[in-house]
Symmetry: C2
Subunit: 126 residues, 2 copies
């Protein structure tokens, strides 16, 4: 189950998609250890570039992403993880998906309401 981490300094992009609705929820990055932990534990685990450490998605919010299926692409330099998302939303700003802004008339417009209060979930650090 090797992947090609060489194109992105040891990382691969990981696209997270809701297994039931097909909605793309977020994109993170994995190094080899994060990928292997994701496979072994069934909880999506990223490598946080800003914190330079492994990051089990939902470790603070409880909104874990349970793996249903993992695919890779032709070049094996990217993964697509289909998940069951625990909790109301994956976005640290309180939305169901991180992709809550759509391009309309040359500007980004929010297209949906928040589904949870990020201050309550993340302790005031949205």
């Amino acid at each position: 189950m090797n992947l090609n981490y060489s194109k992105l300094d040891g990382l691969v992009p990981a696209v997270v998609q809701d297994h039931a609705s097909g909605r793309v929820l977020m994109l993170g990055f994995m190094n080899d250890e994060a990928f292997r932990r994701t496979v072994e534990t069934g909880d999506v685990t990223f490598f946080s570039r800003s914190r330079s450490r492994l990051w089990v998605k939902g470790e603070s919010s409880g909104h874990r992403l349970r793996v249903r299926e993992i695919a890779t692409d032709c070049d094996q330099d990217c993964v697509l993880v289909k998940v069951e998302a625990l909790g109301p939303g994956v976005c640290h700003e309180g939305y169901a998906s991180c992709f809550f802004r759509r391009l309309a008339n040359g500007a980004w417009q929010e297209t949906e309401p928040r589904v949870f209060d990020p201050a309550a979930v993340y302790g005031g650090t949205p």
Copy 2:
């Protein structure tokens, strides 16, 4: 319609999703010029890291990706492009989606047949 290109040396990952089926078809990278051309022309345009130039997806195969909707994420460092895919498949290896391998029992397994002959489409350079 600004994006944050600073985290990835001037690029953002661009997830391409079929607007009708919801299938994730591929992931590429865009620099600011590629993103702006994508918006202006309606044809998905990447920045090819291997060739260091703009790459209109389908420029050689004819399998262009027509933009239906563009979303960005909370950090504005990634885009999700919903498309109508012209042609039978987006993958240079002849598959409908680049994500044609799934993890099963610790190994990558092909999960679907080719939908076109890459040698015929790409002139012997699959």
